[in-house]
Amino acid sequence: MKPSMPTPSAPPPPIIEVENARISFGAVKALDGVTLQIMPGECVGLVGHNGAGKSTIVNVINGGLTPDEGGVSANGNAIDAYGINVARAHGVRCVFQELSLCPNLTVVENARIVHRDLGGAGWRGRARRIIEESLDAVFPGHGIDSGETVGALSIAERQMVEIAMAFSDAGTAPRLVILDEPTSSLDASLAKQMLAHVRRFVAAGGAVIFISHILHEILATADRIVVMKDGRIVAERPAGGFTAHSLFETMGSVAKGEAARRESRDLASAPLVLEQAGSGLPFTARKGEIVGLAGLSGHGQTEMLMKLHAQRSGNWWPRHDPAVAFVAGDRRLNGVFELWSILKNLSIASLSDLSRQGFVNDEAEEGRGEDWKKRIDIRTRAMENPILSLSGGNQQKVLFARALSTRAPVVLMDDPMRGVDVGTKQEVYRIVRDEAAAGRTFVWYSTEMEEVCLCDRVYVFREGVIVAELAGGDVNEANILAASFQGAAA
């Protein structure tokens, strides 16, 4: 697979070794005992679903996070105060998904920021030489002027500069380069150039951790593949031991099918209530249908919901008949009015139905509050209590009641079950099913597979567009995962 390493009598120590690392954010275990060794001269592919812990382990290795338990050693020596600067001194470099260059500075100036030891007189010349050498090495014929400000470069060019920056040598040679989805903004030929450079770098004794959702890249480039799930490493094998299909199966959840699947309904004759053309597949929803939006998080599902909402609600003039209602997932950002009582939070979306000539009818409002308090069991003594006196799950119920109490025929749900306990979830599932049966349409973005599988039809998003449509019996975890990851087609 790779050229034979210079073999001294003892094998070289791992560049970085993470020993039994545990990290919790509150109740969430981001890392649950991960042990990982990165040897010189190997490319490790790291795969897993959202929230599997990939970014967390990467942050432990680059020094950004200190594990609650466990330690990090470099070159076989345990290091107590492992941090970003120590990591850099050991040649650990990181290319992030979110571009991290300063857009108002030139490429050369950015190189100066990354390489602290580039200071002193004439640093511009040295920085220019270093970054240009590296760009030429990784992306021959790149055509990037290193005197250009980063903000003037295209996304792909910025990503190229960032990658070249990580592989550049200004005193401390890079030994381990972490590439976190580096190819997502590169086209095929640039990605090929980069992957070729990864192989050259590895052959020369460096190490690479490669994260990508494009599985054939991982399979073709990595020597060893590590599969993570729920903060743990669930499989670790040479790349030859995996196929695209077996990778999916390893990533997916083993226990499934606990959510009662709804019987499939024939909605083909129901009238269309939503239509939205986009650069991918068109989006449609019928009356009484539950349409799921799936895919990896942050691939355009929330934007789609926002677009559907914005185009159907009045920003200047109140609409007499609301067309859509919205259930927020991020309660603090666009859900709860924190200074208000539970009742006011519940009634705000349907207040025009409870008013006459612009005056709010207090009795009607209170009546509706009591009605919904019983219907979805909001656990509070009085609806006049502040909304923040409720637990997160009950606040979420209030947001559901806010949307469901409108006359809107369509309800948009933006992953509303985050942080909601199991009991509440079951209650809400029941309400959604009942309301759908009564003719309401739901558009439901969820990051939880179980919920997506409750939907009549599912659109899978990747990179901002709809790439697949699944209906009826095709709605299952394997199909959704396969469509979420590129290069998975059959």
Partner: protein, 316 residues
Amino acid sequence: MTLFHGLFKKPWLWSWLAVAVVWSATVMVTGGAGALGLSQAALTFAAFSVIVGIGQMFVITLGPGNIDLSVPATMTLAGTVALKLMNVDNGMIVPGLLAALAVGVAVGMCNYTLIKLLRIPPIIATLAMSFIVQSAAIWTNRGLRIKPPSLLAEFTTSSTLGIPNMAIVALLIAVAAWVLLEKTLYGRWITAIGQSMAAARMAGIPVDGTRFITYVLCAVLAALCGYLLACFSGGAALNMGAEYLLMSIAVVVIGGTSVAGGDSNVPGVWGASLFMFLVVSMLNTYGLGAGVRLIMTGLIIISVIVVASGRRARQP
């Protein structure tokens, strides 16, 4: 006890408490003489602060960053345009009023146009607008000082049953504002927008329309105040609005309205307006020099706000 507790949660309580203390402290020095005169003067002058303060309060309710700095210029322009149009003719009182209100509507619309279309922050947009409006006032005025129609001058400076007419007007406006804020759909909407614009949008509130109306309302109230003040003081002066820039904001804040938006109250604006006048009278009565008076004014305002916000921080 519950009543007491409930009362102490009212954010406007503190400004009224301060009014009572300052009023008593002043009257004590004079030995009770002039208590009536002091009260009448306070009501009259507070009335103008109340009218602009209520407009400003609605704008501040819209949330962080929302403020109208064009209030003084709008007052001046409305005053000068109205007096020029009326030209000391009692028959022109109503057209004059309508002209003043039209000035307010125009300024409010321009303000929100700048904020929305050109995406200028409200503080800059309304400040820029105020220069334009002030220049228009200078151009209209040309240094002339036209007297108000006699009926109007009479009305604004006299009292009914011992209560200054201006105070009655301001009281009516305050009651209307209270109803608007507490009982109507519009009041709920601005309070919601002030807490979270994103959440308000997703709850189906017509955010832009509501904000637009609010900026217009503020400018209209400023214009009305300019009209009344010009008649009260015997003619429009180019600097007549100057002190109301900070005054309009101060009475809102001292009155217990949250600067962060979404939590406003009308009674506090009244309390704070009376307080602002009475503090100055009290320090005058004590015969303090101008410098000391200003320092004391500042210190007293700061302490009222500290006491009031300390109370709010303790709330669960």
